[in-house]
């Protein structure tokens, strides 16, 4: 996330103030309340932190006021006289969770229903059908207050409905759990991917769009009638001389496919000078509207995959504006001005010599292990991030496990598998765990610290990937990062027989260049068409295949693969295809191949990081001969051999 890295602050900055808040309330309420805070170091965007301050304060005051009972009442019901409010904060699956738990009297369903009926918030019929959760959620209904007297502390019309509205405004959720007589827990979830960002609002065609200010360098207004200050053309491409340097221009109208007037014939043109990661360009827009702090709302994957929008937001007047993905627009418009590159700070390493016109980004999760170098896991592999108490770890037949969501989660130490010496000093009370789904099962890969995410165009260098569990090295330009393969690490710790495929995976790894690639058909190497949308994997798998002596042609989706097949007259021995791809996915691709008169006999192998049962079945149904989980090179090479020999056998029979 480009927007995420800004202004992160520990949540303790807000939470630690509650010690004082609760102490002050002691006096006023004549209650004895202790407050505990954990996870104060959890980081959150500064603007989000500001936004949750008041709702959190309200919840804490509410717990003191309505939750925790008077000392005498507590004593009579067999509780300690001192009540507690425990605030916990932690990261969970891309969100920050804040839990406020009191051990007070809890919510009474009958009382809540009675109040709601009295206030006409619900009807009698409704009340009879409501679930426990729905009843508890009544306290978030506008105009609801459970205290029989409105007190100074948490009353005065500002109810829990305002809390919920404010949390939802920043894209969060509020949840409530309660046990009558035992206490109440309120859980806020604040998505990390949402942020309040300052943005420039522009219009173009009929639409209104937002550009994050961090990407904006300056605004330029060009008068085409002037001699110096005007748009010029280089081989038909519009450029502008900005302080003596050539700035490439992109017309937002043409990126978005709007019918529009060429900038050259407009008297006045507005240009927003934007910084993509490695270069600058000017974006021509119809008009500049305003600047505003906008709340970034996520887009569905379908719209994200257009690579032009990074989110959406709701403007002051209630209308929706799309947030432009500056990087993506540059990519779509395929503008690169290499001359400008050295001036800019680069996050992703720029490969000046490479001539591939598609710069593709790969997202990684960065973690700390017992090594001075940061380690990275491909973000799409990460199912969830969890933190467990060390005391919650149990032992099952020599394996460390935790009970997790009603199942057993095996824990695998990345340090141990990579043979990094464990410093006993570094053992903490909690363990950070990257939960990975492998063949339909969840595994926990234990790391020292979860650091951040990284989106980069840097290539992974696989030359040093000799160690088991390591994919290669990432050179971001600023530092070296080791990319680890959680699947290999899990496989090494918990070996599974590859039941996923009809082929056997137990043969030893074939030695380089002497493998099956050259056998069978004599000296001509076997040709493989590799279909994979992510450049990262394309490169990786190509490396493995070429290392084993195959000739590889790659395509970035099913549609491109079809074009290649047509242009090369289907001259391939095998197709290896990813499943989740834009335009035409693996299932559609396989179905199309199997329906094609000429290509239907080509052996096809599916290779996907999603290898659960339903995908496997769907894959085989669509026409794949075999289905493999991504990134297990030995298994991949063996399967290729098996599929090829099967198809050879089929032909000769």
């Amino acid at each position: 996330g480009e927007m995420m890295k800004t202004r992160m602050q520990p949540i303790g900055n807000v939470l630690n103030k509650f010690h004082r808040v609760v102490r002050d309330l002691w006096q006023e309420l004549r209650k004895n309340i202790a407050i505990t805070i954990s996870g104060a170091e959890t980081e959150l965007d500064k603007s989000l932190l500001e936004a949750i301050k008041d709702p959190l304060t309200h919840i804490v005051r509410n717990s003191c006021d309505h939750g925790v009972e008077l000392p005498q009442v507590r004593k009579n019901s067999g509780k300690a006289e001192q009540g507690t409010i425990a605030i916990r904060s932690y990261h969970e699956g891309g969100q920050v969770v804040i839990e406020i738990a009191d051990d007070g009297k809890g919510l009474n369903k009958d009382v809540l229903l009675q109040k709601a009926l009295e206030k006409n918030l619900i009807s009698k019929e409704q009340s009879a059908q409501m679930t426990e959760k729905e009843i508890f959620n009544l306290i978030f209904a506008p105009g609801f207050s459970t205290a029989s007297q409105i007190t100074n502390v948490s009353g005065r019309g500002v109810g829990m409905d305002v809390v919920r509205t404010n949390i939802e405004k920043i894209g969060g959720t509020v949840d409530l759990l309660s046990q009558d007589g035992r206490g109440t827990t309120i859980r806020l979830k604040i998505p990390l991917t949402l942020a309040i960002v300052p943005a420039l609002i522009v219009s173009c065609g009929d639409g209104t769009f937002a550009i994050p200010q961090v990407k904006l360098a300056e605004l330029v207004r060009v008068d085409q009638s002037s001699q110096e200050n005007r748009i010029e053309y280089l081989q038909g491409a519009p450029v502008y001389r900005l302080r003596g340097k050539i700035l490439p221009l992109i017309d937002l109208n043409s990126v978005l496919g709007h019918a529009h007037q060429d900038a050259a014939v407009r008297p006045i043109t507005n240009i927003a000078v934007l910084n993509a990661e490695t270069y600058s360009f000017g974006l021509i827009v119809d008009s500049i509207q305003d600047t505003a702090d906008i709340v970034v709302k996520p887009l569905s994957r379908l719209l994200k995959s257009l690579h032009v929008y990074s989110g959406a937001t709701i403007l002051g007047d209630g209308s929706v504006a799309l947030i432009l993905d500056v990087q993506g627009i540059a990519k779509v418009a395929r503008v690169r001005n290499e001359a400008n590159a050295p001036e800019k700070t680069t996050v992703g390493a720029t490969d000046q010599n490479s001539n591939h016109h598609r710069t593709e980004f790969q997202d990684f999760l960065l973690v700390h292990l017992q090594s001075p170098t940061k380690h990275a896991i491909i973000l799409s592999y990460v199912h969830r991030l969890e933190e467990f108490k060390r005391s919650d770890i149990e032992i099952s037949a020599k394996r460390r496990v935790v009970r997790y969501r009603g199942a057993i989660l095996p824990l695998i130490s990345a340090n141990e598998l990579l043979q990094y010496p464990q410093d006993p000093q570094s053992v903490k009370d909690t363990v950070s765990v990257v939960v990975v789904e492998k063949a339909g099962h969840l595994y926990g890969v234990e790391v020292d610290t979860i650091l951040d995410t990284l989106s980069t165009t840097a290539d992974t260098d696989t030359t040093l990937a000799t160690e088991n569990g390591i994919i290669g090295n990432l050179n971001t330009g600023q530092e070296l990062i080791v990319v680890i393969d959680p699947f290999q690490i899990i496989e090494a710790a918990v070996p599974t027989r590859p039941k996923l495929t009809p082929v056997s995976g137990e043969k030893p790894l074939i030695a380089k260049a002497t493998g099956p690639a050259l056998t069978g058909a004599g000296l001509t190497p076997k040709r493989i068409l590799l279909v994979e949308d992510m450049a990262f994997f394309r490169k990786l798998v190509t490396g493995v295949l070429e290392g084993a002596g195959y000739q590889v042609v790659s395509a970035s989706d099913g549609l491109e693969a079809c074009q290649i097949l047509d242009s090369e007259n289907g001259a391939f021995d095998l197709i290896i295809s990813d499943i989740e791809m834009p335009r035409m996915n693996g299932f559609q691709f396989a179905t199309a191949i199997r329906a094609h008169a000429k290509y239907k006999h080509l052996p096809m192998l599916a290779l996907s990081s999603r290898a659960d049962k339903s995908y496997l079945q769907q894959g085989l149904k669509a026409g794949f001969n075999s289905y493999l989980e991504k990134m297990q090179p030995p298994l991949l090479l063996n399967s290729i051999e098996d599929v090829l020999s099967l198809s050879l056998g089929g032909k000769s029979a």
Partner: protein, 153 residues
């Protein structure tokens, strides 16, 4: 076991979605178009502060565009995203029985069939049950049906 369905019409055909999966049913809402999006994406909607993606079921199913105004929307949550399905009109909430169920017959055009779990044979009508999981899968794979068909030619 009986099951309640929110029903709606596209043309003369009756469709249903499990009541529990439907967040709300609304009239027509102000839609902001999304340039470059596939044709079945009608745009984005401000649904009381949340952003919903509006999909034209007619377009998604590959049915001919009609002059009928899409007056109604069925809002569901799919994979954490709000999706507003544009339909021609809303029907009643209907109770259906397992015994009335049958998988979708081959005669239904593939463009529609792949989004259906099956058919309920109710009195006086056939009710097609929408498969939301399938819808979600297709959407996250960003399938463009037109392009995927081109290879067969």
């Amino acid at each position: 076991m009986n099951q309640q369905l929110t029903t709606f019409y596209i043309g003369k055909d009756l469709y249903g979605i499990e009541v529990m999966r439907v967040q709300e049913v609304t009239g027509s809402l102000n839609t902001i178009p999304v340039p470059l999006a596939p044709q079945f994406v009608k745009g984005l909607i401000n649904l009381r502060g949340q952003i919903a993606t509006s999909l034209g079921l007619r377009e998604l199913f590959g049915l001919p565009a009609e002059q009928i105004k899409n007056d109604a929307s069925v809002v569901c949550k799919l994979d954490g995203n709000l999706i507003s399905l544009c339909v021609d009109s809303i029907g009643d909430v209907m109770e259906v029985q397992e015994s009335q169920f049958e998988t979708a017959p081959e005669i239904i055009p593939g463009g529609v069939k792949r989004f259906l779990k099956g058919i309920y044979k109710i009195d006086g009508a056939l009710l097609s049950l929408i498969d939301l999981e399938r819808l979600s899968l297709e959407l996250s794979n960003n399938s463009d049906q037109k392009e995927s068909k081109s290879i067969n030619n």
